[in-house]
């Protein structure tokens, strides 16, 4: 299909909108899903959407090529790109796998140099790419890098130096080479447009004077997330000069303060009446934590997941946060701490409990099934849970979903693979059965513990709205995966590791893969022949196999399957084999 250049519609044709009107109407549609639907109506609407689309979201950078995107959307201003499979966050994907953003930048520079915003997740970004970005897109204003790798603080320096209109610089959880904090000093002295600054990922110190001057210049600054090495003195001064902040990430909170300093800090927090998000808090002491109380009355999201709070500390803090909707903590708070959550947070919608020490076998810090039940009893609006624990029971999970039937995201990680219900020694099948039977709106599910094919039977039968499923160390046979592929018609992302699913299971999804974003299978029983068979029958899929050193030639150690209109990719490293029927 070729894009027709814009044509004006003869006025006599009253059955059609003039293009300009149609485009104006379409610009009011923001959601990508709505826009995609619009573009399918007819050619005119497709064209109008193409010319008026300003933001494009690409969930898998290899599903389409930059050339196709640039050709279809010539006036694009904002791009969100996701690259590597999610399991790359857990070191399951080789470093040089791909997802390099540079080819995208080259195409955009020639076709759409008016690019303003770039949001990348799990992409490879080099300093060279950052420099290219800074120098070739004069209107560039927002950069967000999440879980990316390949760049260093030098790259950030070039962005700070050259992007005169920068509004957003958001650097989160990346594999960044942290050479120095000099980059912050690269913002020009008259630069004042920043609204979002997040450098919590970085370890090296930035110049506090430079930071303070920058913050006081940028009167529109709304989001400021400091890194760990930022001191409380600096924080105090920043709060005093930027009370308009809505999101604040503090630095380390362990510094010893005199009573005077503590009072001053607390007073400064009192200025910040607009805070809705609070995070950071590496190594917080109980005493220091009390300094933030004055700022908590409007807080909706509190992220304490980098400091090992005890239950009492959390219990003292929570009554100051009556509007809390999202809470992230470490399991150091224990079941007691979670009881405090249930008692103090009636509006809570999301809770994430991370492990303080994932490899600690002594169970000194842990939460159990009681904790999650306590939260569900006090927080009926709960719809998102991520829970790392070392023991769980079927009955507890059933109770949780009875209390909170509106779950959209249920992610339970029992950290010992293949662990049964610790009171009955039964598999955890009934737990997840209860989840899918009760929670009709469930979109994302992560399962763990000892699980047989029965779990998958339940999922296939009941989880009709499921879009993302994450499976590890589960299942008894190919049937497990088959149930899911046959039953979950809305499935978009499936990631599986260490399960006894083989070629039959892989091929059972033939009808499903083109409507999914991707499939990941690692350490299963799939062979290279199975992958070839899949590729042969489904030419619009890329079937990639990552081989491990020393494994059998016929084994497909890691398989990544995704739909694409761009054909097989050519930038894969030698350890990645792409099967294609082209």
């Amino acid at each position: 299909m070729d894009l027709t250049p814009k044509q004006s519609i003869p006025a006599a044709e009253s059955t059609r909108f003039p293009d300009e009107v149609l485009e104006r109407v379409l610009t009011l549609l923001k959601s990508p899903k709505d826009r995609n639907a619009v573009s399918l109506v007819c050619k005119d609407w497709y064209t109008a959407d193409s010319w008026s689309r300003r933001h494009v979201f690409i969930g898998n950078c290899y599903s389409v090529s930059p050339e196709i995107v640039a050709r279809r959307f010539p006036r694009i201003r904002s791009v969100t790109l996701k690259g590597k499979p999610r399991f790359s966050d857990f070191n399951l994907v080789p470093d040089n796998w791909g997802a390099d953003v540079h080819s995208w930048l080259l195409v955009f520079a020639s076709g759409s140099p008016f690019l303003e915003e770039l949001r990348l997740k799990r992409m490879r970004v080099t300093d060279g790419s950052l420099e290219f970005l800074a120098l070739n897109f004069p209107n560039f204003r927002a950069l967000s890098l999440l879980s990316c790798d390949g760049f260093s603080t030098s790259g950030l320096a070039t962005v700070a130096t050259h992007c005169k209109n920068l509004i957003e610089l958001d650097i989160q959880e990346n594999g960044i080479e942290d050479l120095s904090g000099e980059w912050l000093s690269c913002f020009p002295d008259n630069f004042s447009t920043l609204e979002v600054l997040n450098f919590s990922n970085l370890i090296t110190d930035v110049n506090t004077e430079v930071l303070e001057r920058l913050v006081s210049r940028c009167r529109s600054l709304k989001v400021l997330k400091l890194n760990r090495s930022s001191s409380l003195d600096c924080l105090h001064r920043l709060l005093t000069s930027a009370p308009q902040l809505t999101e604040l990430g503090v630095g380390s909170f362990s510094q010893e303060l005199t009573p005077q300093q503590h009072a001053e800090l607390k007073h400064a927090f009192g200025f910040c009446k607009n805070l809705t998000v609070l995070s950071g808090f590496w190594d917080a002491t109980a005493l220091n934590l009390s300094a933030v109380y004055p700022a908590c009355s409007g807080l909706s999201f509190l992220n304490l997941s980098y400091t090992a709070l005890q239950s009492q500390e959390l219990a003292s803090l929570l009554p100051h946060c009556p509007c809390l909707r999202r809470l992230w903590v470490l399991d150091s708070v224990g079941d007691r701490g979670l009881e405090a959550v249930g008692a103090n947070c009636p509006s809570l919608e999301e809770i994430r409990v991370f492990p303080t020490d994932p490899f600690d076998e002594d169970m000194l810090h842990t939460v159990t099934e009681s904790g999650i039940v306590a939260v569900s009893q006090g927080c009926p609006k709960l719809h998102y849970i991520l829970y790392f624990c070392r023991q769980m029971t079927n009955a507890a999970v059933a109770t949780v979903v009875r209390n909170c039937p509106d779950f959209t995201h249920f992610r339970l990680c029992i950290m010992n693979p293949g662990q049964p219900d610790h009171t009955t020694n039964q598999p955890m099948d009934e737990a997840f059965g209860a989840v899918v039977k009760t929670c009709k709106k469930l979109k994302r599910l992560s399962i763990s513990g000892l699980l047989t094919d029965l779990t998958f039977k339940y999922i296939g039968e009941y989880a009709k709205n499921l879009e993302a499923l994450s499976v590890a160390f589960a299942g008894s046979s190919d049937l497990g995966m088959q149930y899911v592929m046959e039953g979950c018609s809305k499935l978009k992302k499936l990631e599986i590791r260490d399960c006894p699913f083989g070629n039959a299971a892989l091929l059972s999804g033939l009808e499903r893969y083109e409507s999914m974003r991707s499939l990941w299978m690692s350490a299963c029983n799939v062979t290279v022949d199975g992958c070839k068979a899949l590729a042969r029958q489904m030419p619009r899929l890329n079937v990639e196999v990552m081989k491990e050193e020393g494994s059998d030639d016929c084994k497909a150690d890691k398989v990544y399957v995704y739909r694409t209109v761009a054909g097989p990719r050519r930038d894969a490293p030698p350890s990645v084999l792409t099967f294609s029927s082209l």
Partner: protein, 323 residues
């Protein structure tokens, strides 16, 4: 190679569904050359972590161009054999699988970026077990990079499990927050944990930088028994960075010393091992007991002795007194 056909989900594809399956291989090879050149272990320009005045027992070929990193508290010469990165893991209970590691330091030269993933590949083989049918190849490869052998005899660990992002793992690992002096809160904690001084975290990763090296490394201080282990491990890690400074130096009393090396000879070493403590001060490694050191060490730096003017004199004193 043919231009890929464009498909469009609006229209029909005219692709045939039959046809041979081909494997698309990319043009470039991965740069395994890089790793192999590093493993050449050029004897002539070896970096050696040794105590001033001591000789490493393996260097029998009498290589004259050795870099030494001096430790001040030298009492005896280093006599431990060079340690490879084998993993000594013994099966625990139940599901845990023994994963033998093999191979030397070569495996550590992964990507040069300062990515916790590189460190995590060392840390990964520590947790979880495998159901018997999973291939051990995955964790074997990672187990090879697991740092020096005398770690606590622990269960084999599964790569990428539990599923926690590197950033979070490393943030918690390098700064463990054990609340050792807790009052037991009504059954919150295991009563046996009491006021035990042992840290509850299983690893303590700190960054190690070396002046002039293109990238940093990470080491788990918990896996070393003492300063000697640490210095040997660092020696292994940084031996590839020759810095181009050949010519003899390091041990006093050698012949052919150039003038520019004289200062270094006096100090007894080209490099000094320093660390940053909790207060942010740079201290010389070796003064305090090992346990105290790992509690307070936040990062390590192998500093050129020319930069360590404030620190090095102490090494010089001790070197002088031990000579």
């Amino acid at each position: 190679m043919s231009v890929p056909l464009e498909h469009d989900y609006i229209g029909d594809s005219s692709m045939e569904k039959t046809g041979d399956v081909s494997i698309i291989t990319p043009q470039q090879k991965s740069t395994t050359k890089f790793a192999s050149s590093l493993s050449m272990n050029l004897k002539a320009t070896e970096l050696r972590l040794g105590l001033p005045g001591s000789e490493s027992p393996e260097r029998d070929d009498g290589s004259s161009a050795e870099l030494c990193i001096g430790l001040p508290s030298s009492k005896s010469s280093v006599s431990r054999p060079k340690r490879g990165f084998s993993v000594a893991i013994h099966g625990g209970s139940g599901n845990w699988v023994f994963s033998p590691g093999a191979g030397g330091p070569d495996n550590n030269f992964s990507s040069p970026r300062n990515n916790p993933a590189a460190a995590n590949s060392e840390q990964a083989p520590k947790d979880g077990g495998l159901p018997p049918q999973s291939s051990p190849a995955t964790e074997k490869k990672k187990a090879q990079a697991a740092g020096s052998g005398a770690g606590p005899a622990s269960k084999a660990q599964v790569v990428g499990w539990p599923p926690i992002r590197s950033f979070r793992k490393n943030t918690m690992a390098s700064h463990p927050t054990p609340k050792n002096s807790d009052v037991v809160e009504g059954g919150d904690h295991n009563p046996n944990s009491g006021g035990s001084a042992s840290s509850t975290s299983a690893c303590l990763y700190v960054k190690v930088s070396m002046d002039g090296a293109p990238y940093l490394r990470k080491v788990d201080l918990k896996t070393y028994g003492g300063y000697k282990d640490l210095s040997l491990a660092l020696e292994n890690m940084f031996s590839c960075f020759t810095i181009g400074q050949c010519g003899s130096h390091g041990v006093a009393g050698r012949d052919g010393v150039s003038e520019s090396r004289l200062v270094d000879i006096l100090h007894g070493s080209e490099y000094v091992l320093t660390y940053e403590d909790k207060d942010g001060d740079w201290m010389l490694v070796g003064d305090v007991p090992w346990k105290m050191f790992i509690d307070s060490c936040r990062r390590l730096r192998i500093m050129k002795s020319s930069e360590a003017i404030g620190l090095a004199p102490r090494a010089f004193e001790k070197c002088k007194s031990s000579n």
